[in-house]
């Protein structure tokens, strides 16, 4: 057990007194020490993080299993997702799904499972009085899924219909085409299930996926609510007694194609044609991996460029000054492999070119000139002062702790976070922008009615038309 020493980080506020229009205020210091989180290892080998909180008679539990769609075979894209939903949705060896549904819904409780790219999720929520019943189902679902063939067929039918509907919303098309251009067709961050692949997935595939990854030693649990820790550990030990195993042999995962990284000089333009009066635009390229020490400077750079939803340069220029878009912004991702840095917006067909030029100009400017002291100070102050929202609810606190450990962050990550932000200088921001942002080598994706665009897309680079066909 280790006590978090966050209080000092939170107490040092950047402004204690504030004077500007329309008045002057003196703020008292923020007095807050985040609650202690207990960490234990269950008899079955699972790691558990506990935060008792007696305000409401509820218990919430989230679990992460080290697997994810990144580990499914590329020719069975969609398998992990199906396994994630069928774990709960396909019943267990001793309980049909209908039986579980009746029992849980009658007491207003839930047990859910799902799949992400880098992890699998399972969760439980119930009133305290129903915990033992609900935990029984939760543990049964993780250990003994039946993957009923009938339920699998229903779920496959849903996934297939969702594939048929994937070109309905224009921004979804843009996102998919963007990832495809960045990562190629088979990388875990870009590949999407196709109908024939989904049809080929069998119950045996799901059972094998489960057997390989769902082991107690390969799982972390975060639990918050109305309980005492020692009693909770006893309940979890008893619910998972008899479940063993932990070592998993992870398959090799495809990395970013180095050719994609090295694509020199030219911009690549993807146009997806759809008869609309507004176009969707994404501009971006590869970025950084998780744990890159430059991420703090990059976070501030992104905040100033387009990350902040009301005050960023892209917002002030494209939305406020020019009135070209309702939504405009930028972001960066930090997965296990290289993530991406991108900006996006939606604007009427007749201003697509003007908007793309403006986005590119703002990107270029941030790679050429230092941000102003005022911009830098605002970005740092707002990031540091809103840090306390990471502790909004007991369950947010305890599941954050779990996920930081899951993703391999240092134990003092939260304690040192605001200090690292505070130390970012204008020079650091410029260096990060120069190193990671290359407006001339971006992928530009435009979805819309090409004939109405104000500027030929060729202005931005070599144009390729996206194939939106869906194979049955």
């Amino acid at each position: 057990m280790r006590q978090l020493k966050l209080a000092s980080a939170l107490l040092v506020l950047t402004t204690l007194s504030w004077a500007a229009p329309p008045g002057k205020l003196d703020f008292p210091p923020l007095k807050y020490s985040p609650p202690k989180i207990e960490r234990a290892v269950l008899k079955c080998g699972a790691t558990v993080f506990l935060l008792p909180d007696h305000e409401l008679p509820l218990i919430n539990l989230s679990a992460m299993v080290r697997t994810g769609s990144m580990f499914e075979p590329a020719d069975k894209t969609g398998l992990a997702g199906l396994a994630g939903s069928l774990l709960r949705g396909g019943g267990t060896l001793t309980r049909s799904r209908e039986e579980m549904d009746e029992l849980l819904e009658f007491i207003g409780a839930s047990v859910e499972t799902g799949m992400d790219v880098e992890s699998a999720a399972a969760s439980l929520s119930c009133l305290k009085k129903d915990f033992s019943k609900t935990l029984g189902i939760f543990s049964d679902v993780l250990q003994n899924p039946a993957f009923s063939v009938k339920k699998l067929e229903i779920e496959k039918a849903k996934v297939i219909e969702a594939i048929r509907r994937r070109n309905d919303e224009p921004f979804d098309i843009a996102r998919r085409q963007y990832r495809l251009a960045i990562y190629g067709p088979s990388h875990p961050l870009s590949r999407t299930p196709e109908i024939p692949e989904i049809r080929s997935i069998s119950r045996a595939d799901l059972a094998e996926f489960h057997k390989k990854y769902y082991k107690p030693g390969n799982m972390m649990i975060a639990v918050s609510g109305d309980f005492e820790s020692a009693e909770m550990i006893r309940s979890l030990d008893s619910a998972f007694s008899g479940w063993t195993g932990g070592s998993v042999e992870f398959p090799k995962v495809e990395g970013v194609n180095p050719q994609m990284q090295a694509r020199a000089g030219a911009r690549q333009v993807i146009c997806a044609e759809k008869d609309l009066n507004q176009s969707s635009l994404i501009l971006g390229h590869l970025g950084i991996k998780r744990h890159n020490p430059d991420r703090f400077a990059l976070e501030i750079m992104n905040e100033i460029l387009g990350g902040n939803s009301f005050t960023s340069r892209l917002y002030k220029e494209i939305r406020t000054r020019l009135g070209l878009a309702y939504w405009v912004g930028s972001n960066f991702s930090e997965p296990w492999d290289l993530g991406t840095l991108a900006a996006g917006c939606q604007t009427k067909s007749q201003t697509l070119g003007k908007t793309a030029r403006t986005v590119l100009a703002e990107m270029k400017r941030i790679t050429q000139e230092e941000v102003t002291e005022a911009e830098l100070k605002f970005a740092k102050d707002s990031t540091i002062n809103s840090f306390v929202f990471r502790f909004a609810t007991p369950h947010a606190i305890v599941s954050q702790k779990m996920s930081l450990e899951y993703f391999g962050f240092p134990a003092d990550y939260l304690e040192t976070y605001t200090g690292k932000i505070r130390r970012v200088s204008a020079g650091d921001v410029l260096a990060a922008a120069k190193k990671y942002l290359h407006p001339d080598k971006m992928v530009l994706v435009a979805v819309g009615n090409k004939k109405d665009f104000d500027v030929p897309l060729e202005e931005f680079g070599q144009v390729k038309t996206a194939d939106l066909t869906i194979a049955e």
Binding site: W18, F27, P29, E55, I154, R165, Q278
Partner: protein, 479 residues
């Protein structure tokens, strides 16, 4: 009594209710835990309060509230004021020429547009863009936002609780001295929002078509975002007029939930809002929707896979029948044991099928709406048949007692879960006070839903869920 023993009863007593001298209503719920606080300010003014031909005004006005005041967002308000008037005149001339449609002189439009652009560029030099948002965010505000509905407009923000006083300072300032600068650029932004949410989005397109058909007289049929042609003609004067008639403290409710002291919040709000005077609110009669006299149908065309909406007119809360409709919504579409899930989704007729009571608002008689997306080879026709057969079951068979008991258990556990969120609680308190005039409604709701009997469901289903009271909208691909 602690929450752990009776979270619901304990809670109602913890809400401090206070009306400021100018009529603004405060609802404060002290909650310990993280040092955070949520604010929700709601005005009982939404798109139903717009005059004909001015659709979209309530929502555009909500955007304008972020443009600052005589002190926020400006380098020199005195220099700005005459320029704002010149911009209005230039915009009016441009709108007049554009509204001549085919007879408009395109050269003249270009000249007028250039004049407006020049004035706006000159105005830019006097502005401090995003200053209002920056003041909040610099201090760590999260979730700063606003939304406009048919019935009301809400402004929300969450703050670290040591800085809660920023809220009355900034809000009283923008209520007392708002400056609706950059109006015509913001109007362009809203047009992009309309394109994004409605014109180029299958769900939005279908919803707009459905409501415009279901309401032929009442303004619930008019989109909150505004019709394109109305939006194009809105002026800053329209917005000033809307503000004067609706954004009065006596038309506002503020819910504050979190780590604050109620007496302190009340005292400071009295001080900051003292300069915001109450106003006489317009008593404008709103056209009533006549009883529907036969089924209405529309097929809207859009390049996407099919989906449908089906709605029935009914009374809104707090009418006793409304509880029955809430129960019907849950029976049909809540969770995996619901009737739609079992008989429509599990049978592969649709990938989604749902029921939603209380649309598109609650200040006036509203609708229960059913919808879904069929799964190939089924289309809208097959989904519609499946939905109707479940509706018929409600008219012909009594719902078993256990099914009702299940819903009550779920509603109760939902209620307890919702208490965990400051913002969620603040939103419920403010919403029910602003729309129904009763923040206690969610508490009464638990008793109301418990009182629904199987006979009530039969009676209500037979009375309202009929063909002649039905509106159906299909979204289909153009051939």
């Amino acid at each position: 009594m602690t929450w752990a023993n009776d979270p619901v009863k304990g809670l109602e007593k913890k809400v401090a209710e206070h009306s400021l001298k100018n009529g603004m209503k405060l609802l404060i719920l002290e909650r310990r835990g993280a040092p955070l606080v949520s604010f929700q300010m709601m005005f009982r003014a939404g798109s139903v309060d717009e005059e004909s031909g001015k659709s979209g005004l309530a929502h555009l006005f909500e955007h304008m509230m972020f443009k600052g005041s005589q002190t926020v967002g400006t380098r020199d308000y005195k220099a700005e004021a005459p320029l704002l008037d010149k911009i209005d005149l230039a915009a009016r001339d441009l709108m007049d020429e554009e509204s001549r449609g085919e007879k408009a002189d395109s050269e003249k439009i270009k000249t007028l547009q250039r004049r407006l652009d020049t004035l706006e560029a000159e105005h830019q030099k006097l502005l401090v863009p995003s200053e209002f948002e920056e003041i909040y965010q610099r201090e760590g505000a999260e979730g700063l936002n606003a939304f406009t509905g048919r019935d009301m407009t809400g402004f929300v923000v969450n703050l670290p609780s040591n800085k809660w006083e920023l809220w009355p300072l900034l809000e009283a300032d923008r209520m007392a001295r708002p400056v609706l600068r950059e109006f015509y650029k913001e109007r362009d932004v809203v047009m992009e929002e309309r394109r994004m949410r409605y014109e180029n989005d299958p769900d939005g397109k279908l919803w707009e078509n459905f409501l415009a058909l279901a309401y032929q007289a009442h303004p619930y049929g008019s989109p909150t975002i505004g019709w394109g042609s109305d939006l194009k003609r809105l002026s800053r004067q329209d917005a000033v007029k809307f503000f004067a008639g609706h954004y009065a403290p006596n038309n506002a409710v503020v819910a504050v939930v979190g780590d604050v002291s109620a007496p302190e919040v009340i005292a400071k709000c009295e001080k900051y809002f003292a300069g915001v005077a109450p106003q006489k609110l317009p008593a404008r009669p709103i056209t009533e929707e006549p009883a529907q006299e036969g089924e209405r149908r529309v097929r809207a065309l859009y390049d996407s896979e099919p989906q449908l909406l089906m709605g029935f007119h009914k009374p809104s809360a707090p009418h006793a029948d409304n509880f029955v409709f809430d129960m019907i919504e849950q029976i049909l579409s809540r969770g995996r044991t619901s009737r739609f899930h079992r008989s429509i989704e599990d049978k592969k007729i649709a990938i989604s099928a749902w029921a939603s009571n209380g649309n598109p608002g609650e200040r006036f008689p509203n609708m229960i709406v059913f919808g879904g997306s069929p799964r190939k080879p089924n289309g809208n026709r097959e989904l519609e048949t499946a939905l109707l057969s479940e509706i018929d079951r409600l008219k012909n068979e009594k719902v078993p007692a256990r099914e009702l008991e299940k819903i009550m258990n779920q509603v109760e556990s939902d209620f307890i879960r919702e208490l965990a969120s400051n913002a969620g609680m603040a939103s419920r308190l403010a919403y029910f006070q602003a729309v129904l005039g009763d923040w206690r409604y969610p508490f009464a709701y638990l008793a109301g839903i418990r009182s629904v009997t199987p006979e009530d469901i039969l009676r209500v289903a037979q009375k309202y869920l009929n063909e002649s009271n039905r509106t159906v909208a299909w979204l289909e691909k153009p051939k």
